[in-house]
Symmetry: C2
Subunit: 287 residues, 2 copies
């Protein structure tokens, strides 16, 4: 794929000229194609179509470098400056896949933060089946019970990437990792981490069937998170922002650890707590 | 103070009655007092007045329990249900300090998230002078260089509270810890942690004068964050979300540590990275 892309070297200037003279640039936010794309900013339409919008130069470049990862490309030719991105855009277009040129203003309405970088992509969501998933030694995963805040969810994905954690189980009614706020916080980790959606009960049945250890966290647990040996593979289970893990959920864990608190605070932000335990769990592995 | 508050026991019903019949309830968002209070949602007016608005039942209760911490109280009597809060409101009113009764709708315009809890307070901002600050053995502080995101800032304050870190240095042009988003993420830690504002240069001059060790973080540092002994007192210095610490800033540190990354990601969220190093630094202390 990388080779194929580099067969289409062209200078930015040439692309811009091409864009200006032979391609239509959509300048109205009310264009039906744009209106359709904008619906992907809302969860119901993302769920109905199985698609999502990603933005940010680094993230879109990473997606374009993964075969089959982008299914539509939206470029503001007056705004996109990156030579590398233009080369990837050209390679993408050669595949005959759909793309649009739009004005800076139109791109802005498809973008949460990085409109000034000039490119947005539509990607198919990727979800894996719980039933078929198997873990190997060295694999760590995080399971989030009913996480509510997409920013926390995205930050946890980013931490998964940094720690080499394979991916996330999203249990019960959770925020959407393809939410623009989650995507922004994930900093591209959505493209490299794996995702599984399940009910808590199905997750427990699956982990029991395969004897995968699950480590929960609770401020009431007697076991200090630094005073245990972490198994591998393992799944770190975190409770929701509001309620943490219920007694029943803790009972389904093989081990429940606590992170000590010293001040007035009785809890940590869930993304912070996840990182603190993850970094402890993986520390025995080689870096 | 606690004793004084409990001299004014009254039942919620009585308070509500009082509110309905003898106190004016402001029902218009355009009331000049309300318009004035709303300006505190913006940073320039917060800086001009040195005040801030806090919301959330737990946070306001905590503020009311600290002598001299609240300088104005705004209550929606039809919404506030907490008996404890009503007792504190009554004790507060007995001090002759200013308060307003407002409708649910008016409270909503002063509130980011917790309007349904029925109470908002105006507090004076508290900042300490760098020059007069001294650290003792066991003290940890966090210094944030030009942090931009108020959510990250608030989350770091919350982590400071959980780890017993004394407070924050906000260096150079930083987000405002009294921003409603920061306050919401801090979960009340704003009321218990200490705050110092300074330029990076003044901070460095001060730490050199007093020989306080500063520990920086950088993904390029050769020293693994788990393979060092952390001094005490100490200050953990974190770079901005975008740029991390510059070479000059790292050179001003006594030690620079790195948090290893395994995936595609080249950095962690700043609040996550702060927590990972803080929990490592304090782990040798007794809990």
């Amino acid at each position: 794929m990388a080779k194929q892309q580099h067969q289409h070297h062209t200078l930015t200037e040439q692309h811009t000229t091409l864009a200006l003279f032979s391609d239509t640039i959509i300048t109205s936010r009310n264009n039906p194609k744009i209106k359709q794309l904008r619906t992907l900013l809302k969860r119901p339409e993302r769920e109905r179509t199985g698609l999502a919008l990603i933005e940010g130069l680094c993230q879109v470049i990473e997606a374009l470098q993964q075969p089959g990862r982008v299914c539509q490309l939206i470029v503001a030719p007056d705004v996109l400056k990156s030579q590398q991105a233009w080369e990837l855009v050209e390679a993408y277009k050669q595949q005959g896949l759909p793309w649009l040129y739009v004005s800076a203003d139109v791109l802005e309405c498809l973008s949460l933060k990085y409109a000034q970088q000039g490119i947005v992509a539509v990607i198919p969501q990727r979800w894996e089946s719980l039933k078929e998933l198997r873990l190997s030694t060295g694999d760590y995963w995080v399971a989030l019970e009913a996480i509510q805040d997409p920013g926390n969810l995205g930050t946890i994905l980013r931490t998964c990437d940094a720690t080499g954690c394979r991916g996330l189980f999203l249990l019960d009614h959770a925020a959407d990792p393809y939410d623009p706020v989650a995507l922004r916080a994930s900093r591209g980790a959505i493209l490299s981490r794996r995702l599984v959606k399940a009910s808590f009960q199905d997750f427990v049945d699956w982990k029991r069937l395969h004897h995968y250890p699950v480590i929960g966290t609770s401020d009431a647990a007697a076991v200090h998170y630094r005073q245990v040996g972490y198994p591998s593979p393992a799944i770190l289970l975190m409770g929701s922002e509001r309620q943490g893990l219920s007694q029943e959920q803790q009972a389904a864990c093989d081990l429940v650890v606590s992170i000590p608190m010293r001040g007035n605070s009785d809890s940590l932000n869930v993304a912070v707590a996840t990182a603190v335990v993850l970094y402890e769990a993986i520390q025995e592995d080689t870096y």
